[in-house]
Each structure stands twice: as structure tokens, then as C-alpha cells.
């Protein structure tokens, strides 16, 4: 029983981490229908910026965290401005191929700058975050992931639901010509969605870095896990990304705990196949409102 509880909590915190990463992916897809194949690299970049600030420059942790978020946000803007804006109006497949190219480029740059070694952050999470209850022992990083996940997911949830900027962003995703006719700054919305995506990627990259250490290849491969997560949850749904993230996180942890750790990597995809058989648009995918 204790083992079950332990796995559940760990699974949920991994799930929140995936959900956060998937949130960025869904944002870009929702506003501009672009599948971002450079997502894993965005995670890695976030993790390495944090590494540079905290280990190399030896800044206090909270400052490093803040700077990383700001840096990632700006990076998102820059990526949109430099690479994606010139392609507005081109076929979607070209934009998607561009993100594949971006992935290769970012990975290469990170390898040139940081090398392919495994780095780690200093142990900065307070030991008080550890949950110890009978035989249950949850390391602080899982607790932190849980808390940060909930905080940022609710911030963005409220942002999209209630703030004017969030509503403008959703309006562009919904009907672009109509949004243009009302003066919504569509290009700014695209830039904004890339910036927010880079920001949440940085957060999840940092948490991943604390959990598993920082290595360019490992983190960018983990970034690909957003695919089963978002396809499971439904590509257009932010709520779906959260539920999808939690399901995959818990499933993985349970498989790793009860069955075998090598099966752990495969199980999300197996479940994905079965869910898509039943619900082809994912659990919360957009069901087209059609007026007949």
C-alpha cells in the first residue's frame, strides 16, 4: 500500500512536469497550427541557461530561476521573429520542417557550447520538502515539481480564461480572419505563444535537470514525450494536456515500479495506440461544432 501511494505521488509529480511541457506545445499548436519539433531542445535550452546562471555565474538560485524565465521568454520572441515570421503565409509543412531544422540547430549549438557530458545542479532544494510518512519517502524534487506544476498551470489557466490578452490569443486560434477584422494583433499573438511556450519549457527543463541530471541528448529526447501526452489529451486542449500529462506520468511510474523499468519508456505509446483507437481526436480533442 505504501509503495502504491509512493508511486502515485511520484507519478503525479512527473505528470505535472509533462503537463507543463505539453502546455507550451499546445499553445503553439492552438494559435498557429504548427507542430513544434524543437520542443525538446527548448527544454534543454532552459535547463542549460539555468545551469549557466546558477553554476557558472554562481548567482543565487531564485535570481537564476527568474533570469532563466525571462531569458526563455525573450528567446521565444526571438525565435518567432527570426525564423517563423518570414514563413507566415507559407504552407504549414514548411513551417513544421523549419522546427525540425531548429531542433537540429539548437542541439548542435548546445553541444558546441556545453558539450555532451552529464551536468548537475547544486543541491538547492530545501530538505524540508521531503515527504516522509511511514515507509513513504518522496524526494524533494518530486514535491517541488508537484507544487510548481500546479502553480504555473493555474496561472496559465486563469490567464487564458479571464485575461483580455488570453482571450485575444484564443480568438486567433478560433477564427483568424475574424480576429484580424477586430484588430487583434495576430503576429503579436504568435510571438506571445512562442514566448510562453519557451518559458514553460524552461521551467520543465529545469525540473527535469534536477531529477535526472542535465544532458543535451537525454533532455531533448524526454521533450518528445510531449507527443504522446498531447495526442492523448487532444492537440487543442490545454485541459487535455494536463490530464494527458498526469495519465502518462502515473502510468510510467507504475510500470517502472511494478513491471519493469525498461517497459516504462514504451508503455505511454502502447496506451496511446489504444486510446486513439477509441477516441481518434484524443480524450479532449476539439470536436468540431457544426451547425447543420
Amino acid at each position: 500500500m505504501e509503495f502504491f501511494l509512493q508511486l502515485s505521488i511520484q507519478g503525479l509529480s512527473v505528470g505535472f512536469l509533462y503537463a507543463l511541457a505539453a502546455l507550451g506545445f499546445v499553445m503553439i499548436f492552438k494559435s498557429s497550427s504548427v507542430l513544434n519539433f524543437a520542443h525538446g531542445e527548448l527544454l534543454a535550452i532552459g535547463a542549460f541557461i539555468f545551469l549557466a546562471f546558477s553554476v557558472w555565474l554562481k548567482l543565487p538560485i531564485y535570481l537564476s530561476f527568474l533570469f532563466t524565465l525571462v531569458g526563455a521568454f525573450i528567446l521565444g520572441f526571438v525565435i518567432e521573429r527570426l525564423f517563423l515570421r518570414p514563413l507566415i503565409g507559407e504552407a504549414l509543412i514548411e513551417v513544421i520542417m523549419l522546427t525540425v531544422g531548429l531542433a537540429a540547430m539548437f542541439k548542435g549549438l548546445l553541444l558546441v557550447i556545453f558539450g555532451g557530458n552529464l551536468f548537475s545542479y547544486p543541491d538547492f532544494l530545501p530538505a524540508g520538502l521531503t515527504i516522509r510518512w511511514g515507509a513513504i519517502n518522496i524526494p524533494p524534487v518530486y514535491v517541488a515539481s508537484f507544487i510548481i506544476g500546479i502553480i504555473f498551470l493555474s496561472i496559465f489557466g486563469f490567464f487564458f480564461k479571464y485575461s483580455s490578452q488570453g482571450i485575444y490569443m484564443r480568438s486567433v486560434a478560433d477564427n483568424q480572419p475574424a480576429a484580424l477584422s477586430l484588430g487583434v494583433h495576430v503576429r503579436r499573438v504568435f510571438a506571445m505563444s512562442w514566448a510562453i511556450a519557451a518559458l514553460v519549457c524552461a521551467i520543465s527543463g529545469i525540473i527535469l535537470g534536477i531529477m535526472n541530471g542535465i544532458n543535451v541528448h537525454d533532455i531533448s529526447v524526454l521533450g518528445l514525450k510531449v507527443f504522446p501526452v498531447v495526442i492523448l489529451g487532444g492537440l487543442e486542449s490545454i485541459g487535455g494536456a494536463i490530464i494527458g500529462g498526469l495519465i502518462i506520468g502515473v502510468l510510467e511510474t507504475f510500470t517502472g515500479g511494478y513491471v519493469s523499468t525498461s517497459l516504462k519508456e514504451v508503455i505511454p505509446y502502447i496506451v496511446l495506440v489504444f486510446i486513439l483507437l477509441v477516441k481518434p481526436y484524443g480524450l479532449f480533442g476539439l470536436v468540431e461544432i457544426e451547425r447543420v
Binding site: 503565409g89 483580455s164 490578452q165 482571450i167 485575444y168 484564443r170 480568438s171 478560433d174 477564427n175 483568424q176 480572419p177 475574424a178 480576429a179 484580424l180 477584422s181 477586430l182 484588430g183 487583434v184 494583433h185 476539439l286 461544432i289 451547425r291
Partner: protein, 267 residues
């Protein structure tokens, strides 16, 4: 130049994708506070004229290649829609185009995009006072609203932007006759109470000419006729082609119509 001039379209030509010419030298004038209606059959270029004014040609790969559009003396042809909407020109697109997955109230809030950060509660009340059926639908997804409600929604959404010049593209499209009357009555009220200048593109010439001050008739990308709305209503050609009644008031036999000959004279 007269000082009540709001918009002046000078001899514009519009070309899509560099090859397809849709407008060939269209000129028109809109005076402050008026309702100006633009009539014409399908494919005459009415919607293109509106899009040329609102800047929405650009995303469709269209361009004003000749002539100029002046709004309060300032050239706005080929400007981006972001700039033009911020000058106070808002177009209500043909065929409604709600944000289907947003609620009615969220749809209205998108109308504040041109003046982000300013209070909008009063405007919401104003819109609800014009379009009362929307109040009950406030929190419903727009995709589930009826056609009449959607027309009210998109007009209300445009009203949220405080337009100086409202471009309405076929508001009566596919609506029941009594709803059409209601919508037109509201258009007239908005024009009178909010002092909004309105340009109205319509197939329903009868209703359009009833509320308009001035009217233009388009054929094949050209303006072929322009007159005060009351005169247009009496014009025998307009009566026959757009209002559906012959000069004598009775319906003519189809073989006597010979519209091709009379249309020729305009071009």
C-alpha cells in the same frame, strides 16, 4: 474639400495574387454620420471594396494597385488591419464568423483588442442594451447560438471597438424577414444614437435603401450608379434589377425583361 468627409476612395484597382483584377477604378465617398449602402449582384466586388478599406485584403494576397483610400485625409490603402482598426474602421465580415469556442461574452471582449487595457464594462452594457437576446446567452459557446443571435453577436463585437466607421457585409444573409427588419432597425439606431458612420453592403436592396442616406450600385468591379437613397429607390433600373418590381409596379413577363440590353448601358 468638405469637412464632413470621412472616407474617400479614389479610383482604386484591386488585384488578387498579382493576376486577378477584381476592382477597376472604384471611387466613392462616405460622409460623417451617414449610412451609405453599396448594392450589386454576386461577384460585383462589394466585399472586395470593403476589404480594401479595412485592410483585410492583405492576408488574402490582394493589393490595391492603383488609386488611394483616404480616411480623414490620411492615406490608408495597403495598411495593415491592425493599423486601420486602430483608426476606428471596423469591418463585420460576411457570413458571421463568430469565435465558436469562446462564450458570447468572451466574443464581445475580443472587440476591445484595439484599446487593450481600457475599461470595457460600460461598452458591454451598451451592446447588451442594443442586442438584448445576447444577455441570456452570455456564457454559452457562440458555436451553439442561432443565426440571428450570431449576427447580433458579431455586430455587438464590432461595436465594442468604438468604431467611427462600421463596415457591414451582408448582415441580412440567411435571416428570417422579421429578424432582418430588427437588425436593420438596430443598425439605424446605432447610426443615430452612437453617431457611427455605416457602410452597408447588401443583397437586400429594399431594406438597405430604406435606412441608407446614400447608395452606390456596383457591377463587374465598377461603380455604375450613385445617388441619394430615396432617388435610387425610385430609379426604374434599380427597381427592376434589385427591388424586384417593374416600373409599372406589376411584375413583367420574363420575355419582356431584356435586362442584358439595359445593363449594357451602364458599363
Amino acid at each position: 474639400m468638405e469637412d464632413n468627409l470621412l472616407l474617400q476612395v479614389n479610383n482604386i484597382s484591386v488585384v488578387y495574387s498579382d493576376v486577378i483584377q477584381v476592382l477597376k477604378g472604384v471611387s466613392l465617398v462616405i460622409r460623417k454620420g451617414q449610412i451609405v449602402s453599396l448594392l450589386g449582384s454576386n461577384g460585383a466586388g462589394k466585399t472586395t471594396t470593403l476589404k480594401a478599406i479595412s485592410g483585410l485584403l492583405k492576408p488574402e494576397n490582394g493589393k490595391v494597385t492603383e488609386g488611394s483610400i483616404e480616411y480623414e485625409g490620411k492615406g490608408i490603402h495597403n495598411s495593415s488591419p491592425e493599423t486601420i482598426t486602430r483608426l476606428g474602421i471596423i469591418q463585420v465580415l460576411e457570413g458571421r464568423q463568430p469565435f465558436k469556442y469562446l462564450t458570447v461574452e468572451e466574443n464581445l471582449r475580443v472587440g476591445t483588442a484595439t484599446r487593450w487595457g481600457k475599461p470595457y464594462k460600460k461598452d458591454l452594457e451598451l451592446v447588451y442594451s442594443y442586442f438584448q437576446p445576447l444577455v441570456a446567452r452570455k456564457n454559452r459557446q457562440a458555436g451553439f447560438c442561432s443565426g440571428g443571435e450570431l449576427q447580433m453577436l458579431v455586430m455587438g463585437r464590432a461595436l465594442m471597438a468604438h468604431p467611427q466607421l462600421l463596415l457591414l457585409d451582408e448582415p441580412s444573409l440567411g435571416l428570417a424577414p422579421f429578424l432582418v427588419r430588427e437588425i436593420f432597425a438596430i443598425v439605424k439606431r446605432i447610426n443615430e444614437e452612437q453617431k457611427t458612420t455605416i457602410m452597408l453592403v447588401e443583397q437586400n436592396a429594399n431594406m438597405a435603401l430604406l435606412i441608407a442616406h446614400y447608395g452606390y450600385v456596383m457591377e463587374n468591379g465598377k461603380i455604375v450608379m450613385e445617388e441619394a437613397a430615396t432617388n435610387l429607390r425610385e430609379n426604374p433600373d434599380v427597381k427592376e434589377f434589385y427591388l424586384g418590381t417593374a416600373s409599372s409596379g406589376a411584375l413583367k413577363s420574363y420575355k419582356d425583361v431584356k435586362s442584358y440590353k439595359r445593363r449594357k448601358r451602364w458599363l
